[in-house]
């Protein structure tokens, strides 16, 4: 029988031992601040350079030797006709010589010459000066603009206006989604849809997995510390392996939960600050967010029990880490097959992983985030039930292996001995 006061004593001691460490404080509070800082710097720098670029005047030259360009879009500016779109000026030159002079003089960044045989070959000559970086020239939107101009020029007076417009823009896809209610259809922007369908689930999944592995890492560390500091016998003469295991699970789980809560809060803060801009497009998967703490706790208790037991079989911290890698890889499986889960969250693989205790927490979160309506409530409930049952078995077997491993010094027990102890 497990005595609550012993479990509480172990839990409190382990909790305080971890949360007072600098490494924990740094990971819990410093990491999000660091990431926020880096993101801020990166975003700020990008915004700055884009703004700088926006105010730059980018001029390109165009020489129409084939006489096909529709000059009606060019307006007289100073001396030469200029077409101004998206802060780019395309200057129409009458002769290649003038244009090349301006290119060499740095007045234009590049020169496009439509040769006399353009209609036969479709070739347009792009000339740049030695000072103009190739990538810089390609990075502009001038070439699509010129392509569009040439298309329009070739069609002018040859087709009716509406047909001409459709040739230039044959289809504008308007994306909608049919809800299970069957009647409500909402507009979904393609880019935002991709964001909602991949980024948010991926982020939630990575967050859950990181928190799970971080908390489990503390468990491995504490067992290694107990073994290396040789305090094991003192502990086992005062409390049962089950009490020690439960205390460590609870104490370090609480530390892990706090870490998870802090990280999640940061995400919520960021989301809240961006909500004004995104609210129209992004639908936060609230069911997944609401269930995340429960799935974290269940996943942690299951993985933690197994990790504690296997970590105890190691002679030192390095060996304990090695033994527990397998469990971590199993927990990561849903992320490894993320592409399949995103494409078909409710397919065979998704369902299989929902019912497997190692992968259930992450899979359920991903499925709820990708397609909240695609996963049935009984699947979520069943997955929770499987986890609860598995936790019971894991703690029972884990505590026995924990006892064997905890006292282990020197020789390692055979698999047969481990099996005998675990039954």
């Amino acid at each position: 029988m497990i005595r609550p006061d012993r479990v509480t004593a172990v839990a409190k001691f382990e909790f305080l031992a971890v949360v007072k460490r600098w490494s924990y404080l740094l990971a819990t509070f410093g990491l999000p601040l660091f990431l926020a800082g880096v993101s801020g710097v990166v975003l700020g720098a990008q915004t700055y350079f884009l703004a700088q670029r926006a105010v730059e005047s980018s001029s390109f030259g165009l020489v129409d030797e084939a006489g096909v360009v529709d000059s009606s879009v060019f307006e007289a500016s100073d001396s030469l006709p200029t077409w101004r779109v998206n802060a780019i000026d395309v200057v129409l030159y009458g002769s290649t010589t003038d244009a090349q002079r301006d290119l060499q003089g740095g007045k234009v960044r590049a020169l496009y010459v439509v040769p006399p045989d353009y209609l036969e070959t479709g070739r347009v000559q792009a000339i740049q000066s030695e000072d103009t970086p190739l990538l810089s020239m390609r990075g502009t939107t001038v070439e699509p603009m010129l392509r569009s101009l040439l298309q329009r020029s070739l069609l002018v007076d040859r087709l009716e206006d509406d047909v001409q417009a459709r040739v230039l823009s044959p289809a504008s896809f308007v994306r909608t989604r049919l809800t299970p209610a069957g009647d409500e259809v909402k507009s979904v922007d393609e880019t935002i849809d991709l964001l909602v369908r991949t980024t948010i689930p991926l982020f939630l999944g990575v967050l859950l997995l990181t928190a799970l592995l971080s908390a489990s890492g503390y468990l491995v560390q504490t067992v290694a510390t107990d073994k290396e500091s040789k305090i094991v016998e003192v502990l086992l003469s005062s409390a049962t392996p089950e009490e020690i295991l439960a205390g460590k699970l609870i104490g370090l789980g609480a530390a892990g939960l706090i870490q998870f809560a802090v990280w999640s809060s940061m995400v919520v803060l960021v989301a809240a600050s961006a909500s004004a801009a995104l609210a129209a497009f992004v639908s936060i998967p609230w069911t997944a967010v609401a269930l995340a703490p429960l799935l974290f706790v269940l996943g942690y208790l299951f993985m933690g029990s197994l990790m504690l037991a296997t970590a105890a079989l190691g002679a030192n911290a390095a060996e304990s880490q090695k033994f527990t890698v397998g469990w971590a890889i199993l927990a990561m499986l849903p992320l490894m097959v993320m592409v399949v889960l995103l494409d078909d969250p409710n397919g065979v693989l998704g369902q299989l992983m929902t019912w497997t205790p190692f992968t259930a927490p992450l899979t359920v979160i991903l499925r709820l985030a990708v397609d909240p309506d695609g996963i049935a409530w009984w699947e979520v409930g069943g997955s929770v039930a499987v986890l609860v049952f598995s936790i019971g078995v894991a703690i029972r077997v884990g505590a026995r292996l924990f006892r064997v491993g905890f006292l282990l010094t020197g020789s390692r027990p055979s698999l047969a001995e481990l099996w005998r102890q675990a039954r």
Binding site: R6, A9, F13, I231, L236, S237, S238, A239, L407
Partner: protein
């Protein structure tokens, strides 16, 4: 009443026999010495007695009943492989270990302070364990072991790493426990400490119980039937079975029917001048070494 009893206890680790049919009892209020060479099975026996390990065969009873957690709360253990959380503060560590023994939080804190003062470490209560010397750390562990006032305390090599002053302190603590009727099992290789402290002893060798009983009886049992006599008289000339050692003392082998006291009377009656007279009593060191080597002293 026996506090701790082993009956026919055996334990194997793989193909190796750690304990083979060991039976012994530790009585109430005594200091019981557990002796044996390295790897003899002492630690395994202690672990089984404290339910850290399970025996393959045999029975263990504690305080006259089964090995349950309530009974084990009345015990304490100082293992030979000392263990502490080196990053913890001294008072925190003791309070935690007291809580694990079932003390309430306030009682545990109070006992921690009291015992730190008792072992002379009150001033380092708020320091981290890794800032203490080896001897100080050892005293912290001894305090942790005794702070719950256990009815049965198992001390495995409690004197190792201590200076003479602290050895005397630990001896005093053990003797104080005996005075108030608390039981102590003392596992040590220091035979002079066994002779000074223990009421009864057991010697385990290669997993088997080799010697077990009252200390004085065992010493008597393994003592030669001899006396040492300091006398100017030539005892060989008197026809006695004696040899003279380098210090000039006579080592006399007594007849089987004779006692040391009776022999002294007889010497005096025969007019032998006796300056000093001492019955030969085997030292535990000798008994230990000879038994372990497989020959009687």
């Amino acid at each position: 009443m026996e506090i701790l009893a082993f009956r026919g206890v055996s334990k194997r680790f793989g193909g190796q026999v750690a304990l083979d049919d060991v039976s012994l009892e530790v009585g109430s209020g005594e200091v019981f010495g557990l002796m044996g060479p390295n790897g003899a099975g002492k630690t395994t026996l202690i672990r089984i007695g404290l339910d850290i390990l399970r025996a393959d065969q045999g029975q263990v009873s504690i305080f006259g009943g089964p090995l349950d957690r309530q009974a084990l709360d009345r015990t304490a253990y100082l293992p030979e492989e000392r263990g502490v959380y080196r990053r913890a503060k001294v008072r925190e560590l003791l309070t935690y270990l007291g809580r694990l023994k079932g003390l309430k939080p306030a009682a545990s804190r109070s006992a921690a302070d009291q015992w730190l003062d008792r072992v002379g470490l009150g001033r380092v209560a708020n320091q981290r364990v890794d800032s203490l010397s080896k001897g100080m750390t050892q005293k912290v562990q001894i305090a942790a072991c005794l702070m719950s006032d256990p009815e049965l305390c198992v001390l495995d090599e409690p004197f190792s790493g201590l200076d003479p002053v602290n050895v005397a302190l630990v001896r005093t603590l053990i003797e104080e426990r005996r005075k108030i009727g608390r039981t102590t099992v003392l596992s040590t290789h220091l035979m002079h400490q066994v002779e000074a402290l223990c009421d009864r002893v057991a010697l385990i060798h290669q997993g088997r119980l080799v010697v077990y009983g009252r200390l004085d009886e065992i010493r008597q049992r393994y003592s030669p039937h001899e006396v040492v006599v300091w006398s100017p008289t030539d005892l060989i000339a008197l026809g006695l079975d004696a040899i003279r050692d380098a210090n000039g003392a006579w080592r006399v082998t007594l007849p089987q029917s004779e006692t040391a006291a009776g022999y002294l009377n007889a010497l005096i009656e025969h007019g032998v001048a006796v300056d000093r007279y001492e019955p030969m009593v085997a030292k535990m060191d000798d008994i230990f070494v000879n038994l372990v080597r497989g020959s009687a002293p």
